[in-house]
Symmetry: C2
Subunit: 187 residues, 2 copies
């Protein structure tokens, strides 16, 4: 039985939960009180994840972190959603990295500061992040104008990764997620 | 012959050049005038990389982008620096994602704004980025206190990726790179 260490506001955790559901794999969740700073605790880091992040996925003795690495592990293990050909698998990895480098990274930070931060976020920081996010959306939007899925002709972990933060309420991010949902799921 | 589309201030390009040198693979470079905005041009994006980024590596008919994906491709193709066991390979992917998600991403943005931006960077944005970078350095520093290499007992593409921006002059980033160099290369 998989154990998923997570909390509900974490889109990176949602990516892994989404994948486990798509694979019809049962899992149990372990609540991580991120909002109270648990992941900054040295003891938690030593026990769970030195990177100080969720999700953490336990698969028996194996402890996996970084959503993109977990998704890749699950895709290989269960032989699904990883891309069919080696070229597709390479493209999937490319978009997973794009998501972590340019899309989720900025979007998650922006949403967190806007909706959950302890203090009012600095407008200059928010404007800078929004510029990055808008650029990443433009890249994705253009890419998806030509195809229904990020890679190939079926859903992969690239789609699952890129949509990880798109299902949360518009009030949290200020982005019209219904629109973005349609961009990713045109088919 | 590999063709590497790059420019000298790009640490993400340096990662790929470093890997090609480590593999003793000859390559030619194609200069991309990033500073003049070439990668924002629609035509360039269509021809070279829809993500609007360098590096781009051409291997025959194949066109690869995202440094982490390129490094993984080269490690597999040449059977070197990818980690020896499946567990090591999984760890390498985890740290590649950490680098793109939390380390290079913020560090490259910070250095670019500080050294090459068209206008004086906003102090609030710089302070925010610096907080992120310092956190990522702490994670890495602690990790490398227990081992000489990021994964296993020999250099991998995780090291190559994480050190991509550490060789530039201190004047560009404000970080004491000599110190950070030592953190990564204690052995």
């Amino acid at each position: 039985m998989y154990l998923l260490h997570c909390f509900s506001q974490s889109g990176n955790s949602f990516k892994v939960a989404f994948m486990l559901r798509a694979l019809s794999q049962p899992y149990e969740t372990v609540f991580v009180d991120f909002m109270q700073g648990v992941t900054r605790d040295d003891g938690w880091r030593e026990r769970s994840n030195e990177m100080g992040e969720v999700p953490v996925l336990e698969d028996g003795q194996r402890r996996l972190t970084q959503s993109g690495a977990i998704l890749t592990y699950l895709a290989r293990k269960h032989g699904a959603f990883g891309g069919v050909t080696p070229d597709e698998q390479q493209e999937v990895l490319r978009w997973l990295l794009f998501d972590n480098h340019k899309f989720t990274s900025y979007f998650a930070s922006y949403r967190f500061a806007k909706a959950f931060g302890a203090s009012t976020p600095d407008p200059a920081v928010m404007a800078w992040l929004k510029g990055r996010i808008d650029n990443a959306y433009r890249v994705l939007d253009k890419h998806l104008a030509a195809s229904s899925f990020v890679v190939g002709t079926a859903p992969t972990i690239a789609d699952i990764s890129l949509c990880g933060y798109l299902y949360y309420p518009v009030e949290e991010s200020g982005y019209d997620l219904q629109l973005q949902f349609l961009l990713l799921q045109k088919s």
